[in-house]
Symmetry: C2
Subunit: 189 residues, 2 copies
């Protein structure tokens, strides 16, 4: 049995250091609220408002550390509320995606691209992937059990010595499956 812990990702944003400074002021740095499942990643104390053409979310959690490029990850439900139609993408692949307005205590900016619905994926430490014969970028089928059980297709494998074993799904997927963070999923193919 290839069992993987499940982590449910609510809407969140990654900011470039340049945008951290623009939104929070000169010299600002993200500060850690709590660590995430992936080593070195954290939920920051800081939040921003994101404003779309149809709606907005006043408090979107920033995940740190700062990244190369700013990226907002929303569920499809969130996207409808914002009035955007972002594609399903792997993190970091933002070419041609919609932009949005981001507001912090020190400023407001509009990014031209960077809004995605995150493709469901599993982080594998290299040792997990080797043990199970799974390659980076491989598409997997993964079962979430229970009353709203389902088998998710096209779950992207991401393999790195920097990763800890964890499956990331968004709130739509979690709610459709009746799943919660800490549940266990099974790779079936």
């Amino acid at each position: 049995m290839k069992q993987v812990p499940v982590g449910v990702s609510a809407r969140h944003i990654h900011l470039s250091q340049e945008h951290v400074v623009f939104l929070f002021g000169k010299g600002a740095e993200l500060t850690e609220l709590k660590p995430l499942s992936q080593p070195g990643q954290f939920a920051a104390n800081e939040t921003v408002e994101v404003i779309g053409p149809k709606g907005s979310f006043p408090k979107v959690r920033i995940l740190g550390p700062a990244r190369k490029r700013t990226q907002l990850e929303v569920s499809r439900t969130d996207a409808f509320a914002l009035g955007l139609k972002p594609p399903v993408r792997e993190s970091g692949n933002i070419a041609g995606t919609p932009g949005i307005t981001i507001k912090g205590p020190a400023g407001e900016l509009a990014i031209e691209e960077g809004v995605i619905v995150a493709a469901r994926h599993i982080h594998f430490h290299t040792s997990d992937a080797e043990r199970w014969g799974i390659a980076d970028k491989q598409r997997l089928k993964v079962r979430l059990g229970g009353e709203r059980g389902m088998v998710l297709e096209n779950v992207v494998a991401r393999v790195s010595p920097d990763f800890a074993l964890d499956m990331h799904i968004d709130t739509d997927e979690a709610n459709a499956a009746g799943a919660l963070t800490g549940d266990t999923a099974e790779i079936v193919d």
Copy 2:
């Protein structure tokens, strides 16, 4: 191939005739905005506000005709926003479910039970069920294809000469699968 059209159900409410009168005034009846996929069923012009312990929705569509008992059907995402934890249930099976406050132009009432997350299901006309060898209440596995493809388990078969072939999923399930009303699903088991 056992192919079934998909219908996505947004949050909606069914009202008893007694509650129609209470919420819309003496002599009120639901009026048809547009027909639904099931014969005789319709989206009404009328809407109500529903108010939960944490949040509310100002315009929830009423589906007619009036039913024996009032029932609010929400997604799990909606349920979190309202501050309720309704179970996944088949329509009509509301014993022990949470209540909610409902407000119309002529009055406001609190129901003691009636809020559910609808169990995904397929309406079969008796002739479809016979042709495919499917029994009422049978649990099916149904595949939604595409980039966010998935196989849904525990899809409840509902068979009646009054039904038209249609699979009903909620907005969480549709968004998790990237599905829209009018898509086609396939019964795989």
